[in-house]
Amino acid sequence: MLHYLEEELEQLRKKIIKMGSLVEEQVEFSFRALFEGNLELAETVKSRDDEVDKYDIKIDKHCQRIFALTQPVANDLRLIMTALMINSDLERMGDIAVNISERAEDLVDYSDLLKEMRVDEIAVKVQKLIKMSIDSFVNGDAELAKNLIKADAEVDKLDSVIFDLLAYKMKDNSELIVAGMHILTLVRNIERLADHATNIAEDVIFMIDAKIIKHSKDPENLENKDNS
């Protein structure tokens, strides 16, 4: 029984890591499609979303099987719960990568505007958060997860700056309203990627420290927020 459980948990961890890598790459490809105007890459992202969805189902079924057959407790239970939650966030991130790729087609002629609106900057920050989220799970690193949660504030701040820049630009030049609306939606999507990365960081902290910190404003002040 013990060997079986250990084996199952290791397989589950590997699946999450593989899905994490796949989604990280999907996001990277979608940004390259957007900023390089590479529509072939945008198509690749869209066609590979099926693979993400298949992983999502595989991981759900794997968790269900472990729950049913081994009745896990304590650390094992938290690992499986975390795997389920992270899986759901990764799957949503995969969908967002597809949305960004679709938006790349609409914005293929606006690479200068994207740069002027600092969309490339927010994309770099968000990619860094995604990498941190996956690394925090792989290495069981709660400190890295806490740093990620703090770093998310920078993304929110830049999101707000971009909103103001876009509003100003559209007021100034009504011909840019359509492109501006596309960019506004695009940036919302990018910001959502950061939120999902933050969710993963919160799940990793739950997995390691058994503390539930979601909805907490201050990841450092965890003790009072633990409502487990």
Binding site: M1, L2, P72, A74, D76, A210
Partner: protein
């Protein structure tokens, strides 16, 4: 320790030169279910049997330390052991009804405690059987031999027999380990109902059972308590790595 129904302090028990319990200090809450878990030979059943002095019947046993029930040390010389066992009932792994009728099994305790009036005995038997959730199944079979009942029914008759002398503590040593899942569920439901009036201490090897029924849980290893915690914490975030390893089946 007025906060606890049962309190043991620095409790040591030796079988000859073998120290089976090592400085066990624990407070057991009133009207709660406390489970004792741990691998075979860790001392949990030995500990359970110190709570009604059942180890007294074993040769070569030496006990040191205090075992307080309601702030009275039950190992004091002036404690009446028979009266103690009336207050602290016990249910064993294998149901052990007397080879008598269901009625005589349940009436046995009150009878030897001096209840002679038939009407009074009838009332005690009925109430005890109802409290043990066995009345509906045996009310028309009161004169049948208890040995003819199913294992689960026999175990509940034994519980009714223990309840008939109105104890305030019930010790259960793997009470459902020989029963099927339905009979096990009945015993567990019964425990929930009984804890409003009783303090229950249960030894179990079944981790899911400990998780389902108990409020607090003590993990024994080689005669010592490694961790004593709320059952919720024990199975979600135990403080000790040994506990994590045991409850998840990594050893034991």
């Amino acid at each position: 320790m007025k906060d606890y129904k049962i309190y043991t302090k620095d409790l040591n028990l030796y079988y000859g030169s073998n120290r089976a319990l090592k400085d066990v200090t624990i407070g057991i809450d009133e009207n709660k279910i406390t489970s004792l878990i741990g691998p075979s030979g860790c001392g949990k059943s030995t500990f359970l049997r110190t709570l009604n002095r059942l180890n007294d019947t074993i040769d070569n046993v030496k006990i040191e330390g205090d075992v307080m029930i309601d702030d009275i040390n039950i190992y004091d010389k002036n404690v009446d052991v028979v009266a103690l066992r009336k207050r602290v009932g016990m249910i064993f792994q294998k149901s052990n009804p007397f080879p008598k009728s269901v009625y005589e099994n349940v009436a046995y305790g009150p009878r030897i405690n001096g209840v002679k009036n038939k009407k009074e005995l009838d009332e005690i038997v009925e109430t005890s059987c109802k409290r043990a959730a066995i009345w509906d199944e045996v009310k028309d079979r009161m004169n049948d031999s208890a040995i003819g009942l199913s294992g689960g029914q026999q175990q509940r008759v034994c519980i009714a027999r223990a309840l008939a002398v109105d104890p305030d503590v019930l010790l259960m040593d793997e009470p459902a380990s020989a029963l099927d899942p339905i009979s096990t569920a009945k015993i567990e439901e019964l425990m929930f109902e009984l804890k409003t009036d009783l303090t229950i201490v249960i030894v179990t090897h079944n981790m899911q059972q400990a998780a389902r029924v108990s409020d607090k849980c003590a993990f024994f290893l080689m005669g010592e308590i490694v961790e004593y915690n709320s059952t919720k914490n024990m199975f979600t975030k135990p403080d000790k790595e040994e506990t994590q390893n045991y409850v998840s089946g990594r050893f034991g």
